[in-house]
Symmetry: C2
Subunit: 406 residues, 2 copies
């Protein structure tokens, strides 16, 4: 399968800064895909701290379960992250646990790390046994190839139905010293994260204790990856890992500029996942304000963003605000029909329970022709507010998911 | 727009028995559609009891709000149901309430019923003012045309994106006397009922008190219409009304055979709505057993039935049980990956957390080629059980909903 690059893709992979204390490598292991990288390795120096957020799926993969067991431990011993694409090692029973153990042991032996500091992810088809020998046989080559400037190859190795590799970075001055953040992500379908999304790996040379890093990662994830959706389906493999090497020597504990920069990188990657949503032709920002609470606002926003009827209307460039009303009505969160107002872009479409007097259909239609659509709803009940991001639902989504097994 | 008849449609509209005490009429009012019936009237004789179930949408239409106010009253005065297609009168503010009042008054005047016994439904586009004069000007003709054998015309009048008119009936012997039940329904998209679905009207000549009828209708709806889904979107207009004329003279209070017959009619109509799901090419029965509770089983079953990835796999005739595992995992209900088993038709696909040893892909594929697919999951935790019905997600759904406004 070869999918055309998403029309919403950025022009090129960004220039990412090297993060002192992290090296990357990628290889072709031929797990499922041929002629492309499909395994990446990242190795972090001793003194790094690690944090992670994982899918809450009850059928999560052996890799996720293993990462969750390991992520809470304090350690000064460095860490490794090894990821394959083409096979998710999910719903593979005891064999899946054996594959994770074999991969961790191979990486541990080649890097002098304990297996407890090796984190694995697998992404691809569910329910087929992972041919982990193809990975373990490449570990020596991966370790030999580790370089600080190979993050783009790593981003390529983790792609499945992605049509472009995803990277983002920020550099922030803390106490007069630049601190760098760089991350990569994959994701395109089965995107409705619940605690995390897909595969995301973010690195920084900041110095920060594990517990503080974890708290920040969880908070920022809730405002970024947990607020995107492509198709309301939640992966069995969702994993976000962030590693802080401390190599900059800068302690960022409690630093708001650093937290803001992390937020910026997470949000950039989250948006790139939506821009590569299977079949996407429109990038849609749904903002709900005036809800009874922030939680209610998010419930409304996700109901709009996940509605097949709203998403197909966007695909058809139809300013069909009636479907937005429907989605608000079904969400279960508080709403009063006669207090609602709805905007498409800057165009006030509906207010006080009916179409706005000033509304002209051609204004709504003009906004819908843009590749980037904003839908803003004021519930009129309180101060609750949330923004989520999604894409439209097109024929290409059906083709991608009906016509072959990803 | 003219959609091809669903490949899952029954061969023809069934022969429905006349229900003593109810008469029907349909007219062309030109509300939106031209050259077809778009308004129906049903009038029930004095002594009839009425029960109803309605959408729980927070943005429900003026018609639904009006019906909900009226349905709980005990009355010996007979009743009327008037329904238009082409415009849902939803999200039309105060004007919507005015339209309902005008229609109820016109019907009341022409039938000698109080307006409190006139029930209205409207279905079609949301947010456009209902041109109710086109309806009120036809009320005299409707009343004049009332006949006991015009239920098929009524079923035609309430269609929107439906590709076939839907009817079902049962005759059950109670105390040696035949009691008849006949019903009609419309629905095709925006189907994920929450308390009721779309528009459904069911009539019987049984004798049953209002409160008993309501209790039975609510219970049966929960096992039929509330367990179907086309696209996870819930209508602002969902209405189910059942009227019992008592003309048979048979008291059915507490009669299990009668309740079973009502269940059969509801289920038949609910299945017909799924068979006419927008773009449907497969009728899918999802049964979950062995869940921790019936509620958990329903949550799992709906997660499977609403998953775009499961539905596109069905459309592609792909026995992609990994997506079923994913849906169970995301549903939020209790599950243990290593206890799950999954069957497609009679084919055991997965058990104990992995693909079944006996499974051959060609067996799964053979089942998926049928127009009727069954997916059965044993959660392995308890006795909870539920069945829901859905259809696949195809290119035609996208075309129907992206390419024009319904």
């Amino acid at each position: 399968m070869s999918l055309p690059r998403s029309p919403l893709a950025p022009e090129a992979f960004p220039d990412l800064p090297e993060i002192a204390g992290v090296r990357f490598a990628a290889v072709e292991a031929g797990i499922k895909y041929q002629g492309r990288y499909d395994v990446m390795l990242a190795v972090l120096e001793p003194g790094s701290t690690m944090a992670g957020v994982f899918t809450r799926s009850a059928t999560r993969s052996a890799n996720v379960l293993d990462c969750q067991e390991k992520i809470g431990a304090d350690s000064e011993q460095g860490a490794a992250i090894i990821v394959n694409s083409g096979n998710s090692n999910a719903f593979t029973g005891r064999a899946g646990e054996g594959s994770v153990a074999a991969i961790c042991e191979a990486v541990a032996a080649a890097t002098d790390l304990p297996a407890a500091r090796v984190f694995t992810s697998s992404t691809g088809v569910i329910g087929e046994r992972l041919p982990h020998d193809r990975i373990t046989s490449k570990v020596a080559a991966l370790v030999e190839g580790l370089k600080t400037d190979s993050i783009e190859a790593a981003a390529q190795a983790i792609m499945t139905t992605d049509t472009f590799a995803k990277g983002a970075s920020a550099t922030v001055m803390v106490d007069g010293t630049p601190v760098k953040i760089a991350g990569i992500a994959k994701g395109s379908g089965m995107i409705a994260p619940d605690m995390a999304t897909m595969l995301v790996y973010i690195f920084t040379d900041a110095n920060i204790a594990r517990a503080d890093l974890q708290a920040m990662v969880s908070d920022v994830t809730n405002r970024t990856f947990n607020n995107i959706t492509v198709d309301s389906d939640t992966s069995t493999s969702d994993t976000l890992l962030m590693g802080a090497t401390g190599a900059s020597g800068v302690d960022v504990t409690g630093d708001q500029d650093f937290a803001d920069a992390v937020h910026q990188v997470f949000l950039d990657l989250a948006h790139q996942v939506v821009r590569d949503g299977e079949g996407a032709s429109k990038f849609v920002t749904v903002t709900v304000e005036g809800a009874a609470s922030d939680a209610d606002a998010r419930t409304h926003a996700l109901a709009i963003a996940n509605s097949p009827l709203v998403k197909t209307a966007v695909a058809g460039e139809d300013p069909n605000w009636g479907r937005v009303v429907m989605a608000i009505g079904k969400s279960g969160a508080a709403a009063d029909r006669d207090l609602l107002s709805i905007r498409f872009g800057d165009v006030l479409v509906a207010e006080k329970g009916w179409v706005a007097e000033s509304y002209r259909e051609e204004d709504g239609t003009a906004h819908m022709k843009n590749p980037e659509i904003t839908i803003t709803v004021d519930i009129g009940l309180g101060q609750g507010r949330a923004t989520v991001w999604t894409c439209d639902l097109t024929h290409a989504y059906i083709s991608i998911n009906a016509d072959y097994r990803s």
